[in-house]
Symmetry: C2
Subunit: 209 residues, 2 copies
DNA sequence: ATGACTTTGTCAACAAATTAACAATTTCGT
DNA sequence: ACGAAATTGTTAATTTGTTGACAAAGTCAT
């Protein structure tokens, strides 16, 4: 029944959430779509349109209550509940992502770090021991793992993703430079650093003209 | 005179480039928009439309020559020339990004790694010494720095970006969780890991319904 | 060499996303 | 308590992006 909301809108929600968090920290109580639009460099119309996909959070003549709207967008995004995360691939990027989520993102909790390299077995990365991939089935059985971050070479990404899904992990944060389509019953979010860098490269070339 | 090409198209180019690279590795000589569309799960029409923004790379009745098209898209993206990159912020993420670009991305060369923490001064990260931020002006003067990756706390991101631009670096790969708008004469490419994770979180919540 | 087949490049139709406009409602100073 | 000002939610208009259709051009087997 709920109409499907476009990913274009979803992509903008975290940004709203961030600006509202900053306003909250600054002790701002209320804000109008117009004021927010000026800060964020988007149209006020878009803000109102976006928010109204989820309900009427504002009030005519008054605007939006910052704390309330922040809370509501947090609920929509699901960041007010805890999500357990494991990281597959304990290379530099894996360790960095593990640390990043741990220290920067409330709502997400790193509970495991895995690799295939036996030299890394039980090595501590801050307070987490690196486990071997064959410990994964037991680990998932005994822990409520919701998200797996894939920070491993692309050759292993697809098979690992399939294994994760069969073990019951249905959300993948994919840093491997490969598309994980054709996998049913899983939500994929890609972070393709190479693509991002190439986009930057294109825009540099353009600017020079 | 050149019509402006939409970022929607640009965002897709790296993916074409990747698929073509794989075809090339597999020794495939030619491919039609139809075959490629099946592999990539996009419409053939979109592929043809996208490519034609940049010129007619194909041939009726034959399709596209894989090597040629790969090369051409590489040129468009600017990955066939070398771009020197420095990384500002030598924390976990900074070190991981430095390593990532170094080992995974031809066309981009990491030539410097900077931080403000004096404890890190001259510490080696693989073959690069961590330099202090006050060495930046001299470094940029003596090296052709095209891109700066910003992997530092958001509190310092804006001022650092301004400094970089004033020193002549006009492209920023921004990993700090802050918007660097209002800065003139600079191309920004954002990698907001938090936003990506929240988007994933939203889509998980949706799937559960 | 011929003709059936393939496939592009491009125009037109369609769909989606963004922006503008404005009635309805609330605020707020007097 | 009143009226001007502010501001939302929502509909309509506009713009942008995607897909479909097909003439034109080239391929390839015979």
């Amino acid at each position: 029944m709920d109409k499907q909301i476009s990913q274009a809108v979803i992509r903008r929600l975290p940004r709203y959430y961030r600006y509202l968090g900053e306003l909250l920290d600054d002790g701002v109580e209320r804000i109008s779509s117009n004021d927010l639009s000026k800060r964020m460099h988007v149209t006020a119309s878009q803000i109102r349109q976006d928010l109204n996909n989820f309900g009427g959070f504002g009030q005519q003549g008054y605007g939006y209550n910052v704390a309330y709207l922040h809370e509501e967008i947090g609920n929509i995004l699901g960041v007010n509940e805890t999500h357990n995360v494991i990281v597959i691939g304990a290379g530099n990027l894996g360790q960095a992502i593990a640390g990043y989520v741990k220290f920067e993102r409330v709502g997400f909790k790193i509970i495991g770090l895995f690799d295939t390299n036996p030299d890394l077995k039980d090595k501590m990365v801050r307070d987490l021991p690196i486990k071997m991939l064959d410990e994964l089935p037991d680990f998932i059985k005994n822990n409520d793992v919701e998200i797996a971050a894939l920070t491993l070479p692309k050759a292993n990404a697809k098979s690992t993703a399939l294994k994760l899904v069969s073990l019951g992990v249905h959300a993948i944060w994919n840093f491997a430079h490969v598309d994980l389509d054709d996998i049913p019953d899983v939500v994929i979010e890609n972070v393709h650093l190479s693509d991002s860098l190439m986009q930057l490269s294109y825009n540099i070339t353009q600017q020079k003209k």
